[in-house]
Subunit: 139 residues, 2 copies
């Protein structure tokens, strides 16, 4: 049975952000030679149909995860962000909600941020694990 | 010219969350008789075409803003949230991004949360101002 405290820890956004920062610190401390990650495909690339489009190796994942950690730790919102096509379409769909149901919009983004941070934490741990495999150290 | 510090304060998500909490505290301390807000239409109702659908008076706004403040202060993510139709459609659109471009998804939700919190802070200040008007106290 899940205790109230366990539930609190699991669903807490600020703790989730801290867990992510801590996973990236672990990754940085473990990966002493990041260049070993170059050209090593990530799982998503093997599984995904759009592998050739995204062209992501573990090294670019490593850089991306560090960049996101910096944004998380400063908690500065990149307002001059260039929107992807998808995001622009979705923002347009969400705009009317701002006036009619801001509470739904708040919950939508809160849950979305929480979910993406959980996913990125797993991704970070996976990069760390794969580096250990590459250098031949058992986890 | 905007200084670096001013920019930092303006675009910071955690400070924006705190500003919201503080605006709701002000609202609570000012509004000693919340029932005076019953049946008072909010601006959005007057302007919006969907006024009759949303049926929101200032009193329901007051309750909503306090409920959101409680979620913000606990930073607990409501995982058992019943999705609105709109949100379900949008979540479906966003899912593929989780694997192909989690960084874009992260920025999308970070900016979204920031933007909705700025909007809710203004809404809170507006409810406080309107209460002052109702009881005849000049701002």
């Amino acid at each position: 049975m899940q205790t109230a405290e366990a539930k609190f820890n699991k669903n807490n956004l600020l703790l989730t952000l801290r867990r992510y920062s801590s996973a990236v610190s672990d990754m940085e401390q473990t990966i002493l030679l990041p260049s070993l990650l170059r050209d090593v495909p990530s799982d998503e690339m093997v599984d995904s149909e759009s592998a050739e489009e995204s062209c992501r190796d573990l090294y670019s994942n490593y850089l991306m995860l560090k960049a996101i950690r910096n944004t998380v730790e400063s908690s500065l919102v990149p307002l001059d962000d260039h929107k992807t096509k998808n995001n622009a379409v979705i923002s347009k769909t969400l705009e009317p909600l701002m006036d009619t149901d801001p509470e739904a919009l708040f919950r939508f983004h809160l849950k979305g941020l929480f979910s993406v941070m959980c996913n990125l934490t797993k991704k970070t741990q996976s990069v760390t694990d794969k580096y250990m495999d590459i250098i031949g150290v058992a986890n």
